[in-house]
């Protein structure tokens, strides 16, 4: 199985663990990743907030590249990139005028039929059974709070989650690794997203509520599937701890890092050492699985 891969801007910078861990996990699963050649930014929040044309054309450029590269399925591990790519394609599919304007700009025809998937969808497709085959560590003592944030569930017709208010697709993947999931209230609450830089206080306030509920429900770690969620819950946790000294830090893992740990991959290779909140304390909860000979 070969998958088209759209890394997204954060993959080279603040979200590099997402990129590293994804590549490691897919190596073990023997799934090839065809990185999109010469990909560019999807526009993220800034494009759709300031210009409709930018918000459709910037992702469309990448869809066109994928088309030309002969890819028919594209994985976007960042929830925002996924949302922008799907929205752009959908708009071009539903509105003739928009599509024609973009085709005029890019000087080519868009086929608007690309299959775009996010991390949750791709692991759902791979299936829990295939994952279990590669699990070598025992995670049964690890309690994970699965955090979806906004864009993995909303808008409902773009994100296509199993349930808009109480999704379970990430829990299914996490449980396939052997870890336990907790039932908590803030799994789809907003962390503050792109306000991280211009309105840091809002992000601190919202992210604190999310962390508080996860801790209250007994989680050891929070799992995320998006570099923005990760940044706000991990990087900004330092500011949260500053405001509320004496609170216990709670590490935030990418879903792919969690899967990688379960597969026995070296934590350093997964990028775990680059987090702001130290992940090492929970590593002790992960033990080697006893191999039972047939």
């Amino acid at each position: 199985m070969n998958l088209g891969y759209y890394p997204g801007c954060s993959a080279e910078g603040t979200g590099k663990e997402a990129d590293l861990s994804l590549k490691e996990v897919f190596k073990v699963l023997d799934i090839g990743l065809d990185e999109l050649e010469d990909w560019s930014c999807c526009g993220a929040t800034s494009a759709h907030v300031t210009s409709h044309l930018l918000s459709v054309a910037l992702p469309a450029r990448n869809l066109l590249l994928a088309q030309k590269q002969g890819l028919n399925e594209l994985l976007a591990p960042c929830a925002a990139c996924y949302s922008r790519l799907v929205s752009s394609q959908k708009e071009m599919r539903l509105d003739e005028k928009t599509r024609m304007r973009v085709e005029e700009l890019l000087e080519d025809k868009m086929n608007t039929g690309m299959k775009i998937c996010n991390l949750l969808q791709v692991f759902e497709e791979i299936g829990p059974e295939k994952l279990k085959d590669h699990i070598t560590a025992d995670l049964k003592n690890l309690k994970v709070a699965c955090y979806y944030g906004c864009l993995l569930v909303r808008p409902a017709d773009i994100a296509l989650a199993d349930d808009v208010e109480d999704p379970h697709s990430m829990e299914a993947i996490v449980e396939a690794t052997g870890a336990k999931t907790v039932n908590w209230n803030f799994k789809t609450e907003c962390c503050g997203a792109a306000h991280s830089i211009a309105h840091t206080d809002i992000v601190v306030k919202l992210s604190k509520k999310i962390l508080d509920d996860a801790i209250k429900r007994g989680a050891d770690v929070i799992a995320v599937a998006c570099p923005m969620c990760h940044s706000n819950l991990d990087m900004r946790q330092i500011a949260i701890i500053d405001q509320d000294k004496g609170r216990n830090p709670i590490p935030v893992l990418y879903l792919t890092e969690l899967i990688g740990l379960a597969m026995g991959i070296d934590p350093a290779a997964l990028g775990i050492n680059s987090h702001y909140i130290d992940v090492k304390p929970i590593l002790s909860k992960i033990t080697k699985r006893e191999v039972v000979c047939a």
Binding site: G13, D38, W39, S40, C41, G43, V49, R61, L105, A198
Partner: protein
């Protein structure tokens, strides 16, 4: 909601909170120039616009050590088409 924001920009309304707009302009300028986001370029432009020079400086050393900040700008070959998209968006009706 986005429609209201775009109209406000078109009408040249001054936002009561300029930091948000500064963020978006700085971010988009990196894409216009480099094709992908260039964090150092973004930070320089944002700080110059907002004068929040000391914001998040405490995080800088840690970030650099962890290798999370790309020092060199990204290299995208298809910059022409990206510049064309921006020209159309900024010149004609957004």
């Amino acid at each position: 909601m986005d429609a209201l924001r775009e109209l406000a920009i078109e009408y040249g309304i001054k936002p009561p909170d300029p930091d948000g707009m500064a963020f978006h302009r700085s971010f988009l300028n990196q894409i216009k120039n480099f094709g992908r986001s260039y964090e150092i370029g973004f930070l320089l432009e944002y700080k110059l616009k907002t004068r929040h020079f000391f914001q998040d400086l405490d995080l800088a050393p840690v970030t650099l050590i962890k290798g999370k900040l790309g020092l060199l700008p990204p290299k995208v070959k298809g910059k022409k088409s990206i510049r064309k998209i921006f020209a159309e968006a900024e010149g004609g009706k957004a």
